[in-house]
Amino acid sequence: MWRGLLLLWMTVSMVAAFTWAPLVPGLEETTRVLYFHIPAAWLSVVGLGWSMVHSLLYLGRRRIEHDDHAAAAAELGLLFCVVATVSGSVWAKAVWHSYWNWDPRETSIFFILLIYGAYLALRSAIEGEERRARLSAIYSAAAFVTVPFLMFVVPRIYFSLHPDPLINPGGKIEMDPRIRIGFGAMLVGFTGLFAWLLSLRVRLVRLERVQLEAGAVPGGSL
């Protein structure tokens, strides 16, 4: 069973990351944060992409399953995004002595947090399953258009206004092969976790809907 494999994989990866992989010279003890913070951020972005793609699919095919995926991925993505943002901020305080600096990556994760928050707020304000699915899909599609712009705006703004001295350590870190292996393993493990959580959430949503439909038509009412 692949869940058992996931358990084993994550356990071994964590042990390896903490004991076998060395520390990064500049980061010392805080090195270990990267094994959690970067996968969380990465999956948050993947979740957003998954949610947006399913929103577009919903607008095209009108199958409610796509909306289920869009909403579930958004909830999970928000969770992972919060984890990434908080862990990143604490890490920044430890290494750069400042919780928040509008560094390009910090800005991007903040933007993703905003999109998720707005999307979920919008969903909670609309009644009616079909209408909610449709309107939130439209919003997701519009947000989908703006994401690449932020990817181009942010580097331009920050190079022209403040050449950022706080270079993201991601560039330097992947030098020691043991760190790279540990990181890759954790990333795979986290991805498996995300996929599992997503499938659980989607199945729950479907069960709720089946129950709702069953409850609306009590036995023998036709």
Binding site: R3, T11, L200
Partner: protein, 35 residues
């Protein structure tokens, strides 16, 4: 080194707890889906 192991221990514990919680969820959902 020992501080490192403490953090590792906490992280592993958290992961194991999460895993078993998720397995319970998984079983309950499977049951509901069969009905």
């Amino acid at each position: 080194m020992s501080g490192n192991l403490v953090v590792l221990g906490v992280a592993l514990l958290a992961w194991l707890l999460l895993f078993f919680y998720l397995m319970r969820l998984e079983r309950r959902i499977k049951e509901l889906e069969k009905r």
